[in-house]
Amino acid sequence: MDIQTLSQIKSKFVARQVADELVIVPLSGNVAQMNELFTLNETGKFIWENATANNTNASLAQLMIETFEIDESTATSDIEIFLKQMDILTKYNS
């Protein structure tokens, strides 16, 4: 998944912050999906909240470097890993 797809998919979910984490619940018209819930840790929450149509992997990595004081390779790797994990959500993008 890429940032743009994630930014589109976000509108299909309801998110709630719990401490530093995020619970995301799909808006669904299908009973089979009504019990699928996801939790995002602090890094996942940051990427989720900043995944907008205007952001790229590079601009998001820069934002993470400034926010978490991490190096570029860590930020890039965190984003790639997170986006790969978010592939599970593509079924909601229809």
Binding site: V23, A32, L37, L40
Partner: protein
Amino acid sequence: MNQFGFEFNISIAEIILHVFSKNTIELEAGYIPFLADNEPKADIQVECFKGLPTSNLESLKLLFEAKNDEQRFYSIYETSEGLCFAIYNQQTKDEIQQIAYLNKSFDYWKIYSRDAISLKYPMGPIIMHYLTLYTDAVLMHASCAYDGKMGRMFSGFSGAGKSTMSMIWSKAGAQIVNDDRLVIRNINGNFYVYNTPMYYADISKKAPLNAIYLISHSPLNKAKKLSGALAVSKVMAFCIQNNFDKAFIDKRLEFFYKLSQATSIYDLGFVPDQQVVTYITENEKQG
């Protein structure tokens, strides 16, 4: 089946439903212990009609379908006044057995049925689900045991051991609130568990909710306390919900967040014998 009459009140989780009709209403046995007489004011009106209305469901916006590969339970449509439910015959799949309308404030139902059993499955549980959106409550797939001091709720996937756990606690002297479906209510920051009318008769019960166990079978008893987002999401996964509306999900998330703050939530792998009672009570003492 009981030929009950034209008008009566039912109390579910201390919420009063006034059920009335021009025709006789038949009640399944499970509702009889929940009949409430002389209540001063009902919270929710349930008006029942015999015969289906002429409605063009195809012209309405479909919001939700409760179906799986084998069965079609009900469909929900949007109307200008609220929601419209098409309830399907569980034997014939596609034949509509009932049409129901619910207003936007969730306090007035109009139920049109082919027969006189207005609250038959799955209409009854649908009403119970929308009761929980009317107030600060949720409907759960879970069992609950109350030992006179602590109310413990056990939830998990089908076959995880909810009924087994109920039998174990019953043998230990605890009252079983129910072993399948429960309402949890938040009343001024205190959480209570209630049973709901089932297909069999059981008295109406209420217990405080102190701990929640998400159970699975295991070679040994082992509990792990959960917190934060994981606790909220893992418990909410066993809530009966129609997640087509953002406001419904927001309400649920807020409820489960408060519940996670007020109760202890555990993952529990358990061996199905009496020793799990001692394990749980000792584990709770240690915090």
